[in-house]
Amino acid sequence: MIAGRALLSRSAPLLACLGLLAIWQVAALILKTDSFPTALEALRAVPSILGDKESLINILASLRRMAIAFSVAVAVSIPLGLMMGRNRYVASFFNPLLMITYPVPKAALMPIIMLWLGVGDLAKMLVIFLGVSLPVIYHSFQGARAVEEKMLWSGAAMGLSAAQRLIRIVLPAALPEILTGCRTGLVLALITMVTSEMIARQSGAGNILFNALDMGQYETVYAMIIVIGAMGIGLDAAFEKLRSRLVRWSEPGFDIPLSFA
C-alpha cells in the first residue's frame, strides 16, 4: 500500500504530462486546423529537430548564452543581495533602483539594448542577466534580512569580523532562500533566452521556433515548444537535485515531486 502510494507520487508528474498530451491530442483532432497539429505529429517532429546538426548547434548556442548569463548574474546578485540585507545604507541605495527595474519586462528592453550592443551574444546575455539577477537579489536580500541576530552575535563573540560573518554566517544561513531565488532565476533565464532570440532573430532555439512559425511549419513550432519545455524540466530537476543536496540541513518542507528526478 505504501509502496503503491510512493509509486503513484513518483509517477504523478509523468501522468500529468501524458494527460496534457492526451487533452492536446483530442483538442487538435476536434478542431482540425492547420495551425494546430496533434500532439503525436508534434512529437514526431522532435527527433528531426534534435537530429539536425544546424538546429542542435543553435540550441547549444542558446544554452551557452544562458549558462554564462545565469552564472554571472548569480555571482553578482548574491553578494549584492546579502549586503543589502545586512546594511541599511546599501539597501536604501539599491532598493529604489530595483523597484524601478523589477516590473519592467526585460524583453521590452531588448530593442534598446540591441541599439547599444548589436544583435549578437552580448545583447542577449545582458537581457538574460537582467532577468535572472532581480529574483536572485530579492531572495538573497530577504534571506540575509531574516538571519537571526543572535547567530551573528555568536559569531562575533568567536572573533569573526563583519566580512567573515557575511560570508560564513549570513551566506549559509540564507542559502535556502538564495537557492529559491536561483531556481526562479533559472526558469526566467530560459524564458528570457527564448524571447531575446525572438526579438534579435539571429540564432538560437527561439530563432528556430519563430522561423518555423513564419514558414508555417507548425509541427516544428510545437515540437520546439516541447523541446524548450523539456529543457526547462531537465534544468529545473538538475537544479533541484543540487539544491536539496546543499540545504539538506534546513527544515524539511512539504516536498511536491515537480521533477522526474
Binding site: K150, M151, W153, S154, A157, M158, S250
Partner: protein, 294 residues
C-alpha cells in the same frame, strides 16, 4: 620662613629615597589586587522608540563581578536585564558609562565573553560537532585537536552519540546543551547566559540547571546569568542582582550564602534556601511584577 623656602637638597633626596623604597618593598595594594572580572560603571541605556520618543532601559547601573563567581540578574521582563548582559557582551553600546572586562573597556564582542542565548542561535548548517568546533577553528586550533576537544565537550553536556546530528533534529534542551558546549569550546573567561532555559519545559529546565551546576562547580568559570525565575537564580548563584523596571535599576544585591556543591533535593528542603526564595519574591513583588507600584 627663610628655612622653609631654602630646604637643603639632601631633604629632597631623602624624600625620593623613601618613595623609591616604597615602590620597591611595599608595592601598592591596588597592584596586588587583580581588577574585577567585570566592572559596570554608571551605565545607562536609552532606546529610541517610534515617534521620536526615547525609552530609558537602564539607569545608572554600577556592578562588579568577581572572577569565579556565579552572578544572576533577576527582574521582571522589560527591566533591561538582557540589555545589561548584551552591554557586557559588547553587542550593545551603552548610551552612558562604560563596562570593563579584566580592566579593559568593552568596545565590542570578543572570545573572552561567551554568550549562550535563549534562542540557542546554533548554526543550522553545521552538525553538532561542527557547531562545537566552530569557535576553536576560528581561533586557529588545528582540526584534529579541535575535534577531539569538541567530542569531550559534547560528552560532558550529555550528547555523546549525537555528534553528526543537525540542530533541526534535536529537541530544545539538546540544542541548548550544544549551545553551551559551543561556547565553552573557545574558553571564554566569562559565560554570558541570557535566559538560557527560558524556552524549555519545566522538566528539561530542571535537568539543565542541575547539569549546568555540575559543569560549573568543576571549573568555576565566571558566569553572568539572566533569568526571571527566583528559584533558578537562588539555586545557581553566589550573588543575585535584583532589578526593577521602568527605568531598569538595581534594587538590591544579595549574596546567596548556601553551601556548595549544591544538590537540588537537599537544597529544596533547606530552610535557608526557602527563606531566600520567599524574601526575594517579596522584594520583587514590592516593585510590582507588572512594573506598577501597588
Amino acid at each position: 620662613m627663610e628655612s622653609l623656602e631654602l630646604e637643603p637638597f639632601w631633604v629632597e633626596l631623602l624624600w625620593v629615597g623613601c618613595w623609591a623604597k616604597s615602590k620597591l618593598f611595599w608595592p601598592p595594594r591596588v597592584r596586588a589586587r587583580a581588577p574585577a572580572m567585570i566592572a559596570i560603571d554608571h551605565v545607562s541605556q536609552t532606546f529610541q522608540t517610534s515617534g521620536r520618543q526615547s525609552h530609558l532601559a537602564l539607569s545608572d547601573i554600577s556592578l562588579t563581578i568577581e572572577e569565579g563567581s556565579f552572578v544572576s540578574i533577576l527582574g521582571p521582563s522589560g527591566c533591561g536585564k538582557s540589555t545589561l548582559l548584551y552591554i557586557v557582551g559588547g553587542f550593545v553600546n551603552p548610551t552612558q558609562g562604560e563596562a570593563t572586562v579584566k580592566g579593559r573597556t568593552i568596545t565590542g564582542p570578543g572570545p573572552d565573553r561567551g554568550p549562550v542565548f535563549q534562542e540557542f542561535a546554533l548554526f543550522p548548517w553545521k552538525t553538532v560537532l561542527g557547531n562545537v568546533m566552530y569557535g576553536p577553528r576560528q581561533q586557529g586550533v588545528k582540526s584534529a585537536a579541535a575535534e577531539a576537544q569538541a567530542r569531550t565537550l559534547i560528552e560532558m553536556v550529555g550528547l555523546k552519540g549525537y555528534e553528526n546530528f543537525y540542530p533541526k533534529e534535536l529537541s530544545g534542551g539538546m540544542k541548548q546543551r550544544v549551545a553551551l558546549a559551543r561556547t565553552l569550546a573557545y574558553h571564554p573567561a566569562v559565560l554570558l547566559m541570557d535566559e538560557p532555559f527560558g524556552a524549555l519545559d519545566a522538566h528539561t529546565r530542571t535537568r539543565l540547571q542541575n547539569d549546568l551546576l555540575n559543569i560549573w562547580e568543576r571549573d568555576r568559570k565566571t558566569v553572568l546569568f539572566v533569568t526571571h525565575s527566583v528559584e533558578e537564580a537562588v539555586f545557581l548563584s553566589d550573588k543575585l542582582v535584583v532589578m526593577t523596571r521602568s527605568p531598569g535599576r538595581i534594587k538590591q544585591v544579595i549574596d546567596i550564602d548556601l553551601p556548595r556543591p549544591r544538590r537540588r533535593a537537599a537544597l529544596l528542603l533547606d530552610p535557608r534556601y526557602q527563606k531566600y526564595v520567599v524574601d526575594i519574591e517579596r522584594l520583587i513583588d514590592d516593585t510590582g511584577e507588572d512594573g506598577l507600584r501597588p
